[in-house]
Amino acid sequence: MDYVVRMKDITKRFPRVVANDRVNLNIKEGEIHALVGENGAGKSTLMNVLYGLTRPDGGEVCVRGDVLPASTGFLGLDYGIGMIHQHFMLIGQFTALENIILGAEPRLGPMLDMRKARDRVQNLMDEYGIEVDLDRRIDALSVGEEQRVEILRVLYRDAHIIIMDEPTAVLTPQETRSLFSTLKMLTQSGRTVVFITHKLEEVMAMADTVTVMRAGSMIGTMPISETDVAGLAEMMVGRRIEDMPERDADITYEHILKIEDVSLRSAKGQQLLTGISLEVHAGEIFGICGVDGNGQDELFEVLIGLRRPTQGRVIFLERDITHDPTSRRLKAGMAHIPPDRIRMGLVGDFTVRENLILGRHTDGRFSGRVFLKARAVAESADSLVRDFEIEPPVPEMQAGLLSGGNQQKVIAARELSRDPELLIASQPTRGLDIGAARMIHDLIVRQADSGQSVFLISADLSEVMKLADRIGVMYRGAIVGVVERTEATEENLGLMMAGAKA
């Protein structure tokens, strides 16, 4: 068999973790190879080894028969390997063209030869049907366009093997499809694509071959025709994932939350939210979807009281809370899971126990007039750690040292233990592995099934479609449309996410 990449017995140890344990990976020329696994399975480490960013403790990497040097300073590009990271590494104030040629600029004497650069990039764009406005600054591009710039960047450097880390995480369904067709064209011209993902539907739709990793080890590599989503999920997690139970929706028309014509302008006069109006009913999960950065975070902050809207009202349980501080909203029965758990949801240097009472510490259960009730705090923490299966089950541990999934469980445990009338959850499963995400989903459904409400903001379309009873789509700070779950399709939501009116 003709392998373009052979990774043999790759081992990489970090303090306390073996990220790769004698991993073998073989990649055929011209294929799209998906690398799947939960967070911490060792996918990114393996790809960093291939790209030459990380030096393995053992094993060897062959590219086209050449053994790669184990020295530091090696860059995969010398061997035709390009890598596109999840967070793009572009310079915002430079144009697309400048970013593409940065570091490999054609020169004419001491000057840049921009014409030659443009010609070469234009050729690549024509060849692969990639469209980018080369003269626009990166700041002004959409995420999908930025990604195309990144692709052009590695093509411009003659990369034949292109590694992409979670390439679809920030794309709309339409952008995803366009990315897939680009990748197909790349492989048709003989290039090889390796992409890391945890979205199994995409693997099935896209890849020729899939490799599953779990806990630092390789579980298996197989052609896509020999597996399915359920099979991959089981290999990833190591056990069967049960289907979600049916929603036991019993929605009343009593509104819990009512947003009336809310607008928000930044101090600099930028319009962040425009005329948002909607209602969330008792027992309902209301989903907001949209590409990241279309006002979801601002809406979240307005709802929990971190920002005051410049216009409009927020009514919660029949009371105008527009000008209430966060503390009063929480007391009134609101709870929230913030989009950025490390910055907003937790105090990383606090223990798990302290984090579990953050914002609840004024509750008579946990404190008297002056002092905290240490025993009540500890007992509550112990039972929450147990009920929410927080790992490791050590309440004295610093929350910042937990894995992302367990940090999210700490937040969920704290917020749901308020027994809130309304849970506002923003990107609750972003970056979580299947098991943890599943647990959060179950909690959200349980919250609604018990007659309380959930306001769910998520960039993950499948999550919103799976959980929400009604779905509002945000685009540039406004709600483009609201659809019932039964009417929602990837197609119509995707179009609205790109700004088309419902």
Binding site: H336, M344, D349, L358, F371
Partner: protein, 353 residues
């Protein structure tokens, strides 16, 4: 089990810093042509070698405990209060004012009132910077530094007013009434200036520990200090905790001023002895912003001061050398702070997949 281990481990880096500082100091002493061992012996006998020396050490440590706590409390809230200096001076003046002008009280209530007023004065002084920070985002470092100057100038102006000034050339108040004096702890050593203020300082350490580690308020202050955004999102007010943490710090520094006036000098003099506030920063740094750490660190700096005085008397090495040693200690402690922080960062990057 986990906590005790980390607590013990917490002592190791400062100790290493101190040893390194001692080594460098020894080199400096050698360069001056003196015998470091001899200097070390003199410093030890001057700071801990006798009851007299121990009393001197604790006396020197007392205001540093207050100003160290002042810095530590603010630091726990994420604030860098450089204003201990000014807050202490304002407190000292207030203590002298009430101590001189209020008469006819019994000793207990007079002392208590003087101390309370001094604390309040320091708190009000710190409050200015706190409010400017919390309400308008004006950086507390700049504000507190500037307020230090203002404090010295304003008290200098006031002490020169006929109402306060003791007749004579020196700008100082009359001595406070006998009822306002903090009793000297002369059962330790007859001529000591060590006074009840030291006991007060130790009590302050305990109270600050209880506030920070056991109370609702301390929980909020620490939360705001570690992650203001997450605190806000959990309904904890960054504004009011910022103001309160500054005020508590100012209160403590004000107490330090009261101790100096009521226990040592007996009057306010302008310019007021300088440097307690700034030394408090070093004390908080060495004590890791922990109340009991501050207590130990303040005693250490007190020992350096009293030992330094002995060195000055007994050897040809100038007293300034002790200041140099203090500076070396501070530099090493600051470096160690950076190194441990960076160490965590480096490890953090390596383990993040």
């Amino acid at each position: 089990m986990m906590m005790t281990r980390s607590r013990l481990a917490g002592f190791v880096p400062p100790l290493i810093s101190l040893l390194l500082a001692a080594a460098v100091s020894a080199v400096v002493i050698l360069a001056l042509g003196e015998d470091p061992l001899n200097i070390g012996r003199v410093m030890f006998s001057g700071s801990l070698g006798s009851l007299r020396s121990i009393a001197n050490t604790l006396e020197e440590a007392t205001p540093l405990i207050f100003t160290g706590l002042c810095v530590a409390v603010a630091m726990k809230c994420g604030l860098f209060n450089i204003g201990g200096e000014g807050q202490l001076v304002v407190g000292a003046f207030a203590a002298a004012w009430v101590g001189v002008k209020l008469t006819g009280l019994d000793p207990v209530s007079h002392v208590v009132i003087c101390i309370a007023v001094a604390g309040m004065a320091g708190a009000m002084w710190a409050l200015i910077a706190g409010v400017l920070k919390a309400r308008f985002g004006a950086h507390e470092v700049i504000n507190t530094i500037m307020l230090n100057y203002v404090a010295f100038i304003v008290t200098n102006y006031l002490v020169n007013l006929a109402y306060f000034k003791k007749p004579g050339q020196i700008p100082q108040t009359e001595d406070v009434a006998g009822t306002a004096l903090l009793p000297r702890l002369d059962f330790i050593y007859t001529y000591t200036r060590l006074n009840l203020g030291f006991i007060l300082a130790v009590l302050a350490v305990i109270v600050v520990f209880l506030i920070l580690e056991r109370s609702k308020l301390g929980f909020e202050i620490r939360s705001v200090g570690l992650n203001p955004l997450a605190s806000r999102a959990s309904g904890i007010s960054v504004v009011s905790n910022t103001i309160i943490a500054m005020a508590i710090g100012g209160f403590l520094a004000g107490l330090g001023g009261a101790e100096r006036v009521l226990g040592v000098h007996k009057h306010f003099i302008s310019p007021f002895p300088f440097g307690y506030g700034f030394a408090g920063i070093a004390v908080a740094l060495l004590g890791r912003n922990k109340p009991f750490g501050v207590l130990l660190a303040a005693i250490f700096f007190g020992a350096l001061a009293s030992g330094g005085a002995q060195v000055d008397m007994e050897t040809r090495v100038p007293r300034e050398l002790v200041t140099v040693i203090q500076a070396i200690v501070i530099i090493f402690v600051a470096c160690e702070y950076l190194v441990t922080k960076m160490g965590i960062r480096i490890r953090g990057v390596a383990t993040s997949e």
